[in-house]
Amino acid sequence: MSNVPTITIDGKQIEATPGKTILEVARENGIYIPSLCFYEGTKNPGACRVCAVEVDGARSLVAACVMPISPGMVVKTDTERVKQARKLVVELLWSSGDHNCLTCERNGDCELQDLVYRFGIEKPRFDIDPPGYGIEDTNTMIQRDLNKCILCGRCIRACNEIQINEVLDFSLRGSHAKVGPAFDADYINSECVFCGECVNSCPVGALTFKQARFMGRPWELKKVKTTCPYCGVGCQLDLNIHDGKIVKVTGNREYGQPNLGSLCVKGRFGIDFVNHPSRLKTPLIRIDGELREASWDEAIGYAAQKLGDIKKTHGADSVAGLCSARCTNEENYIFQKFMRAVVGTNNVDHCARL
């Protein structure tokens, strides 16, 4: 007899790995169950209940994200009872916050909005009653609008279980519950190190990238996968491009190694140097003690002539080159080739030692 438990979801027989949850097994088999508080790689809190499913023999609906499968389990994800329960959850979340999609940065990229649309909710049955918090606007990187927070706790788990920065937690109780650093401090006055993992994990518009606000709608942004230019970890990230400019940087958990979608403050918020007005835009040649603008032809011509002259007069070893731990493999390769094959010296190094 096989040890692999078989369960039934929506009439489909599925062989499943013991220990997995209904949500995991359903998703592995292409069966849709919505979720909000579920966040891969963190403990499932079973908080939002939007993943409710019916299990034969259970007294009430169960949260698929926390219910482990058991052999012979029969699960239904699409009954009227399930639909009504999920709809209620979404209506309650909507009505308890200030979910104004017109100006929200997450419009078009919001998990709550997606569920409202998917469930066909024109308007919640309840009065909309946002809590009336002030918007936190005290730093340049992360904007917090707790009026949009659905208390899913994903940011808390991202902070404590993924980055292990241990800054965020729930405070207060019931309808007063809120998320934030200790003593209700603003991020800038807390131990927060601005890794931005909380923003990446937020399913709604409560946490947004401040510098990207009003710089482009989610569907207008082109994402280009690339490698972070800072330290040696080589984190994979998405540059979000609009109108030829980098608007923001996001992690992508599908990219896997080496960073599994996480980033630090430099990769996430330190890329704006690219747009800095003091970037060099043209070659410069020093004439009478001052650096003056020159064309590429002039600059390359002058460099080639001077290098050639010095090599001829003083020998190839009177010339040296520093390549760079910041440049690409291809560039370092042809730089050392240039020094060795064209100048004729092995005087080539970089700052690996510094």
């Binding site: 490698t227 918020f269 800095h276 970037r279 070659p283 291809e330 042809i334 080739k337 064209v342």
Partner: protein, 538 residues
């Protein structure tokens, strides 16, 4: 890198980043990884908090990782060899080493055993200040772990004994059978995005790409044939040697692509004088940095977001960068500029794209043989990856060290080149902070990073601050035999009493005006982690 290459035959991180999260014990020494490689720092923290790994931190500074450590050994700066020898003394004396592994896979064990014999915990305590009992505990813990990953960074290498320090790390890992296994290894964490790749592709004075020696006739013949030119066989000058040669007047021209020695190198007054002696200084960069300000010719480069190419990360993983936007003005990719200059000098380089150059790297570099662009859209590839059907290599030295047998080095402790005295009574140590990167060329132009860290702070232990009558936020003057800088005091328990710490990101408080250019004789790394200074209220 020279230390690891001598011990194992290869100078790179032996194991992958992912393995750090899933090992049984992590020994982190000379690496403030949560600030310098935060996403490796997160791995270490997850290993401890989520997966139950033990963590031993050996560091003079009370770094963030100490909060997560099972055991913290706070050695005096520059006493690493003594501490590592002490650990090995205990391991051998108590018979905790992996005798089979040592016999089957390594050589020169007897010499090591002989040398570490005198490094008893009590003797090491005298040198390093680490309590003998803690040393014993750490030795037992490390040797007792099924799999132990040793992490280090510049805190180990930036000493005159840097190569010795690295060899000692390698000794410790081999002694306990931790090299060549999943979750183990000796792992130098690289501080710059492509420092591994710059080494791999021949950006060093003694090797072509793939560490093929320029002095080796066969290797040189291979490149001479491919490049159709006669090549010099004498290894060239290293960074600090170039500065000295320029100072003497032997070096006339320097072509710098994307480096800023005017802030990164030790003893900056000397660097500046040296660069001013040059007949020709060409600087190719994305900003007019401190070095470019002295240049005769400045060439504007495209940055990482404006070109295609590859970087190789700390774990030897080759990954793509992709052109996402246009470069400003008429800035060009560095490879295009080098190719144009080469062509102008009569050696045409006609690459049409970065991919064309990679094709040549594939042919000329055995370890990169199979690393072609078409295979790099997923998680990249870790070298060695010799062929197009090779999956890449997560950890090195599996059944055999690259050099055959792992080589133990018997190493004696030597004190740092410059120690405190009555005139300069404090030790200055240098490094980075989380919010900035290297010489700040990029990070200081970022709004958010400067909001978090707008100025250079000098970290002073509260007991020293009290003695010096310096309070938090006060301006202080730090003076060494080579120069003086001013910075704002941050009174904090992080540095040990008697040691102050500064970062090297700020030109206004350029700590490398103070640092000692004394070099490790083999690795040629300057001793940036220890010099003697005096500290006064400004």
């Amino acid at each position: 890198m020279a230390g690891l290459a001598a011990a194992f035959g290869s100078g790179a991180m032996t194991n992958s980043i992912d393995e750090i999260e899933h090992t049984d014990l992590i020994l982190a020494t000379g690496t403030n990884t949560t600030e310098n490689h935060p996403m490796i720092g997160a791995r270490v923290k997850r290993a401890v908090r989520k997966n139950g790994a033990k963590l031993i931190v050996i560091d003079p500074r009370k770094i963030d990782l100490v909060k997560y450590a099972t055991l913290w050994l706070r050695q005096k700066p520059g006493t690493d060899v003594a501490v590592l020898n002490g650990l090995m003394n205990v391991i051998i004396a108590e018979g905790l080493h992996k005798a089979d592994y040592v016999a089957d896979r390594t050589e020169n064990f007897e010499a090591l055993a002989q040398t570490v014999k005198k490094y008893t915990p009590e003797y090491v305590e005298e040198i390093s200040g680490v309590p003998a009992d803690d040393l014993r505990k750490a030795a037992r813990m490390y040797a007792g772990a099924k799999r132990a990953s040793l992490l280090y960074a510049m805190g180990i290498t930036q000493h005159i004994t840097g190569t010795d320090n690295v060899k000692s790390c390698a000794n410790l890992a081999m002694l306990t059978g931790n090299v060549g296994i999943e979750g183990g290894g000796v792992n130098p964490l690289r501080g710059q995005n492509n420092v591994q790749g710059a080494c791999d592709t021949g950006g060093l004075p003694n090797v072509f790409s793939g560490y093929q020696q320029v002095a080796n006739d066969e290797a040189r013949a291979k490149f001479e044939k491919a490049w159709n030119v006669k090549l010099p066989g004498k290894p060239g000058l290293t960074v600090v040697e170039m500065t000295n040669a320029a100072h003497r007047g032997d070096l006339k021209a320097l072509y710098i692509m994307g480096e800023n020695p005017m802030l990164s190198d030790p003893d900056l007054h000397h660097v500046e004088e040296s660069l001013k002696h040059l007949e020709l200084l060409i600087v190719q960069d994305i900003f007019l940095n401190e070095t470019a300000e002295l240049a005769h010719i400045v060439l504007p480069s495209a940055c990482f977001a404006e070109k295609d190419g590859t970087f190789t990360n700390s774990e030897r993983r080759v990954q793509r960068i992709r052109k996402a936007i246009e470069a400003p003005g008429c800035a060009k990719a560095d490879w295009e500029i080098v190719a144009a200059l080469s062509t102008k000098m009569g050696y045409p380089m006609t690459y049409g794209s970065a991919k064309d150059i990679m094709n040549e790297i594939n042919i000329m570099t055995p370890s990169y043989g199979g690393i072609v662009y078409d295979r790099l859209d997923g998680e990249g590839l870790c070298w060695p990856c010799p062929t197009k059907d090779h999956p890449g290599t997560a950890f090195l030295h599996k059944d055999r060290f690259t050099r055959g047998r792992g080589l133990f080095h018997a190493i004696e402790y030597q004190p740092p080149a410059e120690l405190p005295d009555t005139e300069y009574p404090y030790i200055l140590s240098t490094g980075r902070v989380l919010y900035h990167y290297h010489t700040g060329t990029m990070s200081r132009k970022s709004i958010g990073l400067n909001e978090r860290c707008p100025e250079s702070l000098v970290e002073i232990n509260p007991s020293d601050a009290q003695q010096l009558a310096i309070s938090e936020g006060q301006a202080v003057r730090i003076t060494s035999r080579r120069g003086t800088v001013s910075a704002t005091a941050k009174i904090v328990e992080t540095p040990p009493p008697g040691t102050v710490f500064m970062n090297f990101h700020f030109r206004e408080a350029a700590v490398n005006l103070l640092t000692n250019p004394a070099l490790d004789p083999i690795g040629k790394i300057p001793e940036l982690k220890v010099c003697a200074v005096k500290v006064e209220a400004a």
